[in-house]
């Protein structure tokens, strides 16, 4: 039988008044208890366990479907609060999905209360290490002291101290980047309800020449979001660091589902 697997996008706790949009994407809203689960019936040809895992090695397939995943959740999020599901969560039957809803209903309600009227923003801050190292004598007392010693030394000693300074600059730069990253995090965190630090991504993934010094997500109240984004913009205008923000996202990073005790 075609299209009998259930692909889950998200859960809402309100009935959806977006029939036309839902219809256009073959989406269905299944009601279990007080929850509305947004799903699509998908084919085994594409989403059976074996076929799905095979498709994951096709990055174009992954990108197309991951973009659809986020776009469906984003569309629902415009109308109501949603708990987003991880990409590729599939149930064989409605009974299995209903059991999940029943087993986790208390936790689902807690999560809805936590994320209601809030949205997720992702912030990445990058540093041009070359530009920072050019200012190192102004930024690091240790580097400035060593520079004074170099200036007052004989050529031979100055050469050796110069090599020492090269090593010191690297350590000092790492400390500075950590401090700047922390300061940015603290400032943005003060404008949010909750925050999560993510791993810093190496250049091979970012495809950028500069260095990532902060990768974080923030849960921001919708009525405070303009303040949050204005602060980001102002910080970006008046700093040597590049701030990149994306959002508003469904609150992917702030969902924590716990099984009923």
């Amino acid at each position: 039988m075609e299209n009998d697997l259930i692909y889950v996008y998200c859960i809402s706790d309100c009935p959806l008044g977006i029939a036309q949009n839902v219809k256009s994407k073959d989406l269905k809203s299944l009601k279990f208890d007080d929850f509305y689960v947004i799903v699509k019936y998908v084919s085994e040809r594409e989403f059976s366990e074996d076929n799905f895992k095979r498709n994951l090695s096709n990055i174009q397939w992954v990108e197309t479907n991951a973009r659809e995943h986020i776009s469906v959740i984003g569309m629902i999020m415009e109308y109501t609060t949603v708990i987003p599901f991880k990409f590729g969560t599939i149930y064989n039957t409605k009974v299995g999905l209903q059991k999940f809803i029943t087993d986790y209903s208390v936790s689902l309600i807690e999560n809805f209360n936590h994320i209601r009227d809030k949205e997720e923003w992702a912030v990445k801050v990058y540093c041009d290490r070359k530009a920072l190292s050019d200012q190192i004598d102004q930024l690091s007392e240790k580097a400035a002291d060593l520079e004074k010693q170099i200036m007052a030394s004989s050529p031979g000693k100055a050469f050796l101290l110069g090599r020492k300074k090269t090593e010191l600059i690297d350590d000092e730069m790492n400390l500075l980047c950590k401090d700047y990253g922390q300061n940015y995090f603290d400032e943005f965190n003060s404008l949010s309800e909750s925050a999560r630090l993510c791993n810093l991504l190496p250049k091979e993934y970012t495809g950028r020449e500069d260095t990532m010094i902060l990768n974080a997500t923030f849960l921001v109240r919708k009525d405070k979001a303009p303040d949050f984004t204005d602060t980001l913009k102002k910080k970006n205008e008046h700093s040597d660091f590049i701030i990149e923000a994306t959002g508003p996202w469904p609150p992917f990073s702030f969902i924590s589902i716990k099984e009923k005790q």
Binding site: I59, V62, P84, F87
Partner: protein, 68 residues
Amino acid sequence: MYDNVIDRSKDITILELLDRVLNKGVILTGDIVITVADIDLVYVGVKLMLSSVETMEQLKSGKSIAEK
């Protein structure tokens, strides 16, 4: 409303997208779910794709791979 600091979700990179949808949200439920090993596999694909994009850009800018 938003300037270049803030990207709308439509313009996001694949990395930013996958970082959210693969690793977060309601996880560890469903009859079929993506495992950690599956996620690693997806990121291998991303890395290959990004490196081939880099190669394409080098070719377009007239640099050969040997100059890398």
